[in-house]
Amino acid sequence: MHMPLEDTLGLNLLAANQHQAEHNREHFDAWRLLCINLMSSPGAGKTSLLERSLAALATDLSMAVLEGDMTTQLDAERLEAVGVPVVPITTGRACHLDAAMVSGGLKLLRQQLDPACLDLLWVENVGNLVCPAEFEVGEHRKVALLSVTEGDDKPLKYPVMFREADCVLITKTDLLPYLPVEVERIEAHIRAVNPRCTVIRVSASTGEGLEAWHSWVRQQLAQQIAQLTPAMVLA
């Protein structure tokens, strides 16, 4: 005899990834650092921005980078040239980083240094506007980049990514004079799907907006450290 049964689970579909992400975050909190997940389409300027930001923030902040790249270590080599520890995570054919990959990257990072001495850990995700939005890696803040060359419709076409972001950087603004695109329209579309996020216009070439971006980062770091409880740090 078979008896039909039904179990209600009510679990998140990505529960396995979320557990690992929470585990990563517990480590980040114990190390008293802020982890920022940088996401964008390929070529939006994540690496160029990081080159500038690492150089500018290294004056008083200790940082490291986990660098997601599908098949190469080209980006990691560029960032290492700035003098900040970089751990490349080659994802193979996977189009996003997941929490387990970041956990693997953390193990490699710990062979190089004690993460407790870091203020900031950057995760440069694989260039993709779709799935990185769904796969948490344990980050405290999500930052999405959108370059002006991508057109003003992208926040509407890939709304989940822009909805999830705490901060959206409109990049390559130095190219605006040469493009039939209005930056106000890009910004309006970002705010349409995510009215609460911070939007900053930047150019890694001219340096426009970098000061505002860096002060946002410092502000998030201060907020993150301020909300840590002794239990989180001792975990």
Binding site: H2, M3, N12, E134, V160, A192
Partner: protein, 131 residues
């Protein structure tokens, strides 16, 4: 093809669920998911990867049933609910306000599992009477 990684996560959760049954292996008939329209999941691809992934496993023959949950927003100006769309930039038709509150559409949930246990298995033996 992030549906492959999503299927892997789903299989891990199913494995955990199976272990809760101890030595009794349940025979799964249907796994019910709820997937919001405002997610990065393509339901048809999820079903395809599921069908391939369970071949030869303890889940062979189990069907994935996906309930699509519509994107519903609530206008923070007048509290009316509405169906945001890309064509109208996700803004509310009542007050032309940006999509601030999402009521539904972000679900990625394993709702329930339909399964059977055969009568001969230990789970259905009467509980031992304490001596």
């Amino acid at each position: 093809m992030h549906e492959v990684d999503m299927t892997k996560c789903l299989l891990l959760s199913m494995q955990d669920w199976r272990q809760q049954h101890g030595s009794v292996s349940p025979s799964v008939e249907v796994v019910h998911l709820q997937v919001g329209d405002f997610t990065c999941v393509e339901p048809a691809q999820l079903v395809t990867t599921w069908d391939v992934a369970i071949r030869g496993s303890w889940l062979e023959g189990a069907r994935l049933s996906i309930e699509a949950i519509p994107l519903v927003g609530r206008c923070v100006c007048c509290s009316a609910t509405y169906r945001p769309s890309a064509e109208s930039a996700y803004r509310s038709p009542c007050c032309d306000h940006p999509m601030e509150e999402v009521v539904s559409g972000r679900e990625l949930r394993i709702r329930s599992v339909d399964y059977t246990l055969t009568a001969s298995v230990p789970a259905e033996k009467p509980a031992p009477v304490p001596s």
